[in-house]
Amino acid sequence: MKPQSFEYVAPTTLDEALDLLAEHADAASVLAGGQSLLPLLNLRLARPELLIDINRLPGLDRLELTAASPVGPAPAGDAGQVGPAPAAPPEPAPAGAGGSGLEAAGGVGGAGSAGGVVGGLRVGALVRHRALEGAPEPGPLGRLLARVAPRVGHPPIRNRGTVCGSLAHADPAAEWCLVGLAAGAEVGLASAAGSRRLTVDALLDSPFATDRRPDELITEVTFPRWAPAEVGCGFVERARTAGSFAQAAACVVVRWAGPGAGADDVVAVRIAVAGFGGRPVLLPGAAAALVGRPLTGGQSAAAAAAAAAEITPRDGAGPAGHQRAVVAALVADALDRSARDRGGPDRTDLNGAGRPRLDLAG
């Protein structure tokens, strides 16, 4: 239960870190929060020759609002920094920021987000899970993140573990992979050769494998921020105990038409589920069935049935019929939660006990 010997380096500039990654590539591992890597090292399942500790790189601990949405061209400039402990509601994004991309981004179940985007929330590579427990922005995204964060491990794990590290590790049951996929989040990857952006959908490959190249560092993940009146989110997971990885989980983002006639008509939906394959998956067929009418209990049930038919049951996870039934239950629950979440926080307990979460803001 002790790691194999390795070299350790803690660079203090991003360029230095990227040069090390370029030089050592597969022989190196990146250490951020270490809450997945250290167990692998202790068990000798990971045996890197070099550990590159990025905890001393400046700026990566920032959690900040951006005017740019993660989808489409990204104009430079921040709407304002949130900081680790936001006290006051941040200023709204400039009118129209990201607005031109709404319709283009609003394709149902498409590659973009659910639309209704007013900006982004950039989560640097050293932002710990704990920082998201206090709703880092007042809208639907902040509520979603505040709801999800307490489901990631236990408090001492969340004090160290990072959101970006979770995405890089790509555990198929990890909450942030599922939520990043449902939300249409994008990661920023940097290397000595240049930088690029990938949606979480494009990043995730197979269990514990991503499209990150060995010389690349995930520097941040940017989630879209949505207009409060238009978007509601639902997240539900089943885990053996609090803090365990999910056995199965669902996350939905629903966008309604907003003010005017047909305000309650659903215009875009993203449904993602985890626990039924090597990575979380989107269910565009089930999502499409919800568009163009209000989200009622009957609509949720119909979409849940569509979702159950749409998944590919996983070997070794019980009878296929059981897996489909679990998906149906999770998706129906998540959709109902999104309707309750629209315009205000959903305070019901994740496991259905009706107990308010202690740490939800607002």
């Binding site: 790691p3 350790y8 270490g34 167990p39 001492p156 105990t241 609090a242 803090g243």
Partner: protein, 159 residues
Amino acid sequence: MDIELTVDGRPRRVAVEPRTTLADALRDQCDATSVHLGCEQGACGACTVHLDGVAIRSCLLLAVQAAGCRVTTVAGLPVGPGLHPVQQAFADRNAFQCGFCTPGFVMLLAAELADAPDLDDAGLVELVSSNLCRCTGYQGILAAARDARDAGAAGRAAG
């Protein structure tokens, strides 16, 4: 590598390999044997200590990462006239059987109750589920956790 850190208020300078976990450095080189190693993979919480005041698993941190930091173990918890309120509650409630898990539970609760002093009973159950007691003495631990929370609330009301 030589690193300097503060352990329970005492400055320490230790030579460690990069692969040495903080837990091993504390136990083997800093005389902090209250830090117990159960699983060494972050599951049991017996090695929980405070790093700059924040509860962490010391088996999931390399000693070199703690360079320059302030580490507190159960032996270094700040006490007033008597024991720390969490320690006192554990003693009052006999919240231990073999005692192996106790330092981790005390450090977990000391940090989290400082952050969320009004945690409700259901929240305490979830919090206590962070660590493992292989004797399964959870009812005593929960009773102590409630006492510690209530003692904190009474202290604030009086003070």
